[in-house]
Symmetry: C2
Subunit: 223 residues, 2 copies
DNA sequence: CTAGCATTCAAACGTTCGTTTGAATTCCAT
DNA sequence: ATGGAATTCAAACGAACGTTTGAATGCTAG
């Protein structure tokens, strides 16, 4: 019997990463103990230190596993957009940026939803090293999107664009991180919460309008 | 010498709350030990348990101290607005909502800035009890603002409004929580970061436009 | 078959955590 | 001034933490 085909090369690593993804999302990094994590993964307590070196290194691996493909997808969407037309519309650029995250959110079985919520939380995590890691993983992608938006909105001051991208990023992060339990505003249908297509329409409409908001108030009052 | 006038009634409590506010913001709740906290506050290690009962109760007290006045301010701003005219403009309502938070951000000396950043982070904190506490502290205010926005935007479906309020909330939370160190998008002038007036103009323009975004795309595609 | 490497395992390591204790001290009304 | 409550203090508690260890086991190339 060829059991090797059933048991992948690094099954223990994968089991740990999956368990970490879920537990970090539920309890945070410091709130998740190695004993709980390894128990959930069904591996020995020492397995994390053996395969990853330390808990911090595991945290980094959790992010690298998902963030690298997501960045690639974001850049690919932008490439496709810019190949079709020289200066894509702002809303199209926004959709290219948010789509990979939303797609990951729909993938509940493979743990993508866990990661997406974890990611949304980590943008505001007090862990400096982790924020620095994520920042450097994002930097090239952000520069590409900034340049694309500058071409799409040539009349907008660069400084204002940076702030509006900042706002966009916050909206996306918060939306992805939002939990079922916290419902500050009652009334949204729970079944809509994970409908990525519906959410993309709502986000794209909101963000495109915000990005295109009139400039006069800001410029006049800021002078 | 009347030292009692210099040393307030519960100086130890205040010193603890101030230190907690700053350290929780910097290192998170679980990342802040009682020993570090009490050392920073200049009080005995046992003082937190004596005055607050437990670390969890201290966390709750930290939020109650600032959130109660902020909610009061938010409701007062809305009262003033609705007293002046029957159905205020959406942007005016938005400004009433974000102004108290931004005012707190400018108050660096009294620790308001620490709290505001802490608050922004806590919206996505994995601590269930704390999220529930904050949710229930916010609920009445959010209902008032939701009703005001429904009057200001009578043509908008309630479900869509809830989502857009959700987006607004995310933008505000993320903006307040954003740290100096994490700069996913380079280019914003550091001195602008704490200029509440400038930030209010930028936020109000962005959020008002997003809130008023055209509905047709959403309605058509969601059908 | 077996030598050798990779992995798993139970057990223990030292450290740090939040909390408790009981005595010492400070405060304030009488 | 003084008795009693409120507060502060140094010290210690048991529990849980991330990590290390060295032997046991699994796997694979020669």
């Amino acid at each position: 019997m060829n059991l090797r085909a059933i048991k992948p090369q690094h099954e223990t690593r994968t089991r740990i990463l999956d368990a970490a993804e879920e537990l970090f999302m539920q309890h945070g990094f410091e709130g998740t103990s190695m004993r709980l994590l390894t128990a959930k993964a069904g591996v020995n307590l020492a397995a994390v230190n053996y395969h990853f070196g330390s808990k911090d290194a595991l945290v980094e691996a959790v992010f690298r596993r998902r963030l690298d493909p997501m960045n690639t997808a974001r850049l690919a969407e932008l490439d496709k957009l810019e190949a079709a037309e020289r200066a894509p519309q702002p809303e199209a650029i926004i959709r290219a940026f948010i789509a990979p995250g939303l797609r990951l959110m729909e993938d509940a079985k493979a743990g993508g939803r866990n990661f997406v919520r974890l990611l949304g939380r980590t943008y505001t995590e007090p862990n400096k090293a982790l924020r620095a890691l994520i920042g450097q993983m994002y930097a090239p992608t952000m520069q590409r999107y900034k340049a694309a938006l500058e071409r799409a909105l040539p009349q907008m001051p660069s400084e204002e664009l940076v702030w509006r991208m900042h706002f966009m990023f916050g909206t996306l992060a918060y939306t992805l991180a939002a939990t079922d339990t916290v419902q500050l505003i009652a009334g949204c249908k729970p079944e809509d919460r994970y409908d990525a297509r519906l959410l993309e329409e709502r986000l794209a409409a909101f963000l495109a309008a915000g990005l295109n908001a009139p400039l006069k108030n800001v410029i006049r009052k800021a002078a």
